[in-house]
């Protein structure tokens, strides 16, 4: 291989590396659905829960004009759910997007006691 060809190959590899730099940079965290029945809480990323290999687990939150709810199902098919009539918590639920990350806690009456939704660059986007 001539010296000129070697230089061309090296330049091409450098260009490829530079092109993919934006994709591999930044902290990453796998954040699938995690349910703690003892402490009555659940957390995870909606997109990563969607991306899990099993076909059973899911997480969802929704609201009507007066009531909000969140429901979680683990891979074993066990359901956990809470509801709220607190306008502030309903507002948090309505702020969620399909890629939101969440933490939800509830009491023994099934009432949501804490609803957190946040967006993070660390979690993976939803894939089909």
């Amino acid at each position: 291989m001539s010296r000129r060809l070697k230089l061309g190959v090296i330049a091409g590899l450098l260009a490829l590396t530079a092109g993919t730099g934006a994709v591999i940079a930044g902290a990453k965290q796998y954040f699938p659905l995690s349910i703690d029945p003892v402490n009555r809480s659940a957390s995870g990323g909606l997109a990563e829960t969607h991306n899990t290999a099993d076909t059973t687990s899911y997480a969802e939150c929704g609201s009507s004009s007066t009531t909000g709810y969140c429901t979680f199902r683990n891979p074993a098919g066990t359901f956990y759910s809470c509801f709220t009539t607190d306008p502030a918590q309903i507002a948090v639920i309505r702020s969620m997007s399909p890629d939101s990350t969440f933490y939800v806690a509830w009491d023994t009456a099934g009432v949501c006691t804490y609803v957190l939704s946040y967006a993070s660059s660390r979690v993976a986007p939803r894939s089909p």
């Binding site: 009555r40 969802e60 929704g62 009507s64 004009s65 007066t66 009531t67 709810y69 429901t71 199902r73 066990t78 359901f79 956990y80 759910s81 809470c82 509801f83 009539t85 509830w106 023994t108 009456a109 099934g110 009432v111």
Partner: protein, 152 residues
């Protein structure tokens, strides 16, 4: 200097002195600056309680009613529903609770039970919603109920 000239000079001096006195006096009585327009003061007259007149409640009764309502709102209590409305709400609670009980009894929360619940939920206030939904969500969390779709 002739006496005539001395008399003329004296007269001129007298005239000049008089003119000086005249000019040195205050030109006119100092006019006080116009006072700023009087600010209209709002006078709140606290009237003693009046007995109910032929036209309605007395001032004291109105005050007591306002205080009572403000206190109730401060404690987070909803305003009392108008007569007749309470019966409708209780009927809606009964229907919604029956749908929840039926779903728990069957072990499944399907479109049918959810539809019956939804038909009533819109008529309920927060307290009634808690009354109806707590048994449903407790059953879900106790794994007594399989969800087919959203709970509400």
């Amino acid at each position: 200097m002739t006496p005539r000239r001395a008399a003329a000079l004296g007269g001129a001096l007298a005239l000049a002195f008089g003119a000086g006195l005249y000019l040195a006096r205050p030109a006119s009585p100092v006019r006080a600056a116009a006072p700023p327009p009087a600010v209209a003061e709002r006078v709140v007259v606290e009237r003693a309680g009046q007995a109910a007149g032929p036209r309605g409640a007395s001032l004291d009764e109105i005050r007591a009613a306002v205080r009572e309502e403000v206190a109730r709102r401060a404690e987070g209590e909803p305003p009392a529903p108008p007569p007749g409305r309470a019966e409708e709400v209780r009927a809606a609670v009964a229907k919604a609770s029956a749908a929840v009980a039926e779903g728990i009894g069957r072990g499944v929360w399907s479109d049918r039970e959810r539809g019956e619940l939804r038909a009533q939920l819109a008529q309920l206030g927060p307290a009634e919603i808690h009354e109806v939904l707590s048994p449903l969500f407790q059953a879900i969390n106790a794994q007594q109920l399989q969800l087919e779709g959203p709970p509400i």
